[in-house]
Symmetry: C2
Subunit: 186 residues, 2 copies
DNA sequence: TGAGACATGTAATCGGTTACATGATTCC
DNA sequence: GGAATCATGTAACCGATTACATGTCTCA
């Protein structure tokens, strides 16, 4: 009988939290600092989001909090990833890239890439980027089609917006190729 | 005494809904179709998101539903923007662009642009794009700085991710300039 | 001594996801 | 007759936002 690991990563924020803790043990406050002072400011630094998330992770055994300075007047809870936590994180990073990811979570895919290098290694990261490339190149033509119909309909604003989308996905593609080159160059 | 218009636009989805209804009267089903068959598939097409949103808007008087085919066995509720609704939408589109918008809602800003043309006119749309340009050009250097420190720290994956961000914002800038040129060219 | 960083939480509220539920119409 | 499309909802659940709350430590 297999023992199933309880608890999963429900959102981008929680992936970010688990990924950061995987890099080094962290307190809630450390996480908040990352989410305010680095380009990860993209995420919520709200205590109302972070502390409950840490509690949920600890309850499902993905992280373990150790109180430091218990004797002092300002103790802090330092969280470390457990074996189960590492497993869940690995599984989460290894999920195939879906159309939905490409459409609605294109930035999240970059977050996954960021953590992947250290956790799954260079080879898997390269596969991931190649998979991403395929998905991107598969998606762009469908936008292109809509651009053509929009142009015929003479909706200039709609057309500009679709152009935005196409250009975003094109640089995304270029970026992925560039990273692949760099990683293979080593 | 002023009569305050109740109800505001709480999310990107609800902005999309109100904006689409402003373009032409729509049923919930029409909205769902848009959210599945056009590049607006970016948004949720879930009935559990759309129908409650329509009810909220109607309750606060921003839209008005008229039942068509009440005598038939398959009536439908066609929603139109009210005067209040138009006011709220206009106000929402006229909000200044914040840092937070640029960081966490960069795609939403494009949605606002899309509706703006028809609702606020070309002049205001141009101002909006110029404001956007300033915000973008103001934000990019802060990413650049973090890239430099990341490179010194020799975290290649982190550095690549920041590069992604920078490139995204750079094409965004290029796109905005291009649209300004096109709109001024007319 | 007072501002600002350190440090952790709770509670109300709310929009969205997921899943369930129902029935009509059209077209092959 | 059956699949696909048209058409509209509800209910449980849940993560995040917002706001509130509390106290320490450090350094100028």
């Amino acid at each position: 009988m297999y023992i199933m690991v309880e608890g999963t990563i429900q959102s981008t924020l929680t992936l970010a939290i688990l990924g950061l803790i995987s890099q080094r043990p962290m307190t809630g406050y450390d996480l908040r600092k990352v989410f305010t002072t680095t380009p990860m400011w993209y995420f919520s630094n709200s205590p109302g989001a972070i502390y409950p998330a840490l509690q949920r992770f600890e309850n499902s055994g993905l992280i373990k909090g150790i109180v430091e300075g218990q004797d002092t007047l300002r103790p802090k809870r330092v969280y470390t990833l457990t074996e189960d936590g590492r497993q869940v994180l690995e599984q989460s990073l290894e999920q195939p890239i879906t159309q939905d990811d490409v459409i609605r979570r294109r930035d999240d895919l970059v977050l996954r890439f960021t953590f992947m290098g250290n956790i799954l290694g260079r080879e898997k990261t390269l596969s991931y980027l190649k998979e991403l490339l395929i998905q991107l190149e598969n998606y762009i033509p469908s936008l292109q089609e809509h651009l053509d119909t929009e142009r015929l309909a003479e909706s200039p604003y709609d057309a500009f917006s679709i152009e935005y989308g196409i250009e975003m996905y094109q640089v995304y593609t270029r970026w992925a190729k560039h990273v692949i080159d760099q990683l293979e160059g080593n």
